[in-house]
Symmetry: C2
Amino acid sequence: MEIRCSCCGKTYPVETRAWRCSQCEGLFELKTVSQLKHLRIDRKNFSVWRYRSMLPSLKEQHIVSLGEGWTPLVTLHIGGRAIHGKLEYLSPTGSFKDRGTTVMISLLKKFGIEAVVEDSSGNAAASLAAYCARAQMRAMIFAPAHASPAKLAQIRMLGARLSLIVGPREFAARAAEEAAQKNYYASHVYNPFWLEGVKTYVYKMWEQFDRRAPDAIIAPAGHGSLIRAAYKAYAELLAARLVKKIPRLFAVQAETVSPLYRGWVERADERGELQRANQAYSLSGSLKVRTRSTIAEGIAVWQPPHWHSILSIIRSTKGAVVTVSEEETVQAHRQMARQGIYIEPTSATAIAGFKKLSSDINPRALVVLPLTGSGLKSSPAS
Amino acid sequence: MEIRCSCCGKTYPVETRAWRCSQCEGLFELKTVSQLKHLRIDRKNFSVWRYRSMLPSLKEQHIVSLGEGWTPLVTLHIGGRAIHGKLEYLSPTGSFKDRGTTVMISLLKKFGIEAVVEDSSGNAAASLAAYCARAQMRAMIFAPAHASPAKLAQIRMLGARLSLIVGPREFAARAAEEAAQKNYYASHVYNPFWLEGVKTYVYKMWEQFDRRAPDAIIAPAGHGSLIRAAYKAYAELLAARLVKKIPRLFAVQAETVSPLYRGWVERADERGELQRANQAYSLSGSLKVRTRSTIAEGIAVWQPPHWHSILSIIRSTKGAVVTVSEEETVQAHRQMARQGIYIEPTSATAIAGFKKLSSDINPRALVVLPLTGSGLKSSPAS
């Protein structure tokens, strides 16, 4: 197992402190030597570590777990159709991020890392704070000043050092990148171990759906980790003939912060071109948005570093990117609550997105919406 | 299966709209005809309904579920000892109450009930609101005005009609009892179906501990449902020879609201005597407490109707009742967060209680603390 630059191919040992390629600033990916042949499942374990044989190798003593990962599927009724909501918010810190964090922090513990930095709109930071506390590791967090009070209170209570950064989400990222010159950057955006952990939601669904892949997954997308993890996991399962197909993958963005959608409709394939378009958009955007720009704060990402791979994934699976208005998100949020499903607004974008997409999806299709964060995260003052 | 008055023995059909004995005002209990012989587990189901054969009989179409019940056990380090925290807050509405609510609401759906009333310090009401939404049933909730804003926002968002009652917790109960003259009283205190659902945390532990009973359970106690449910479930398992003993059951109360503790230390065995003592205490207490009287709001119950059975259970299992100060609760709350466990202060009383009890509990004993509510429930403004 080693880390490889997805751009120039340069390789790094897994213990590297670099968080992107020192040669070309390319993004890291994890290169595993062995190929998946079958899913070896530890049937007595009901956390993410049930799929330990598919995760980077670790001794028992390095595993930092809070019991995360056993999330239920629940039927949702939307526009006369019954689809599946995967309640990813039934997680130790209230969001799906715990899947990635348990794997990343366990590996960092093995490497002897004692302090980490991270930036986040709130959920990833709360998750990191919890697992660092569990591992007795110091955590320095940079978060937008406009993040939900419930998330900020959670991060503080869990013992992380929290710095609030005024301005759009990316400003917090810049601050973290600077701090990362001295400390390990435990980023849920750049760290390839983190993505390995998120893949476990696919393994769990594979069990829940009796070893089938669903026909479509519709997920809120900021940095796109649910899409990227789903693709990677299903591609491996397909190669091992454990599923017959990769599901269609759909990303949902807020109209007000929609760089992926812009890339999608403009069919921009060349890196430079989209980057320029996004930068112009982001600049004009960031001038407008001193505070939050969408109630879907978890996906308010103006410049997603993985945009290129996200768009190719979506294209190759015959998926799509759609946007939803604030009003549509609010309405979907309320509609879910009226079915007993209490989620944060970010998660409701997937519901609103499904409504827009439903005519494009076979009525008999097996559709899953990962519901990413708890409604308790956005209440009450925010 | 029928409902019986625990005081005079009068029986009622399960569909009764009465919530206590019309003859003597005694408390209801569920009388089942068949005896438990073995635990028939539906191994493909990971919700409370995995234990359906032990629950009141229901057709599939009446089951109102949100996937609740599959909660992890996590090691906690307290005072040099390693014990087990059962993360009951990884539940659809963020508290263990969902176990009881899914069973109660499913039965009410079968009976054709369309509207219910309930009173609660917050968690039971949020749970009821969610399952009523799921069942398309109307819910009227009476809650203390000083309940956590996060809980009140949750109840409202889930579509329940919420009335805030100024004064101690019991004032909300009085209001609900009045409203119950016209509507079904879906009370987590009086309804015997609710307790049947809570028993499932024992079945789950029975599986998690490889068919053993732990040596001790230490639980926060207001109305004492975790204690009562544990006793009932373990007594049935013992009778069926599925465990070798009933664990020692310990109740933890806040010093400032401690009617069970008063009953415990005064060894009051006669109903009248304790009731008088408690009434005097409650009266003087309620004059002082216009707003909340302990940060452990979930157990701020001045007059627990089941006090008599709770105390006999604790006595018969060689348990105890202890109280903890506000400061001890705050400290335990922080200590848990520093281990990555983000709970509400009510749940932290169990931690503080264990510290007081630990010298009385064998160092090699298998000890479980149910952690009842999410930390997100008490943040941030409260």
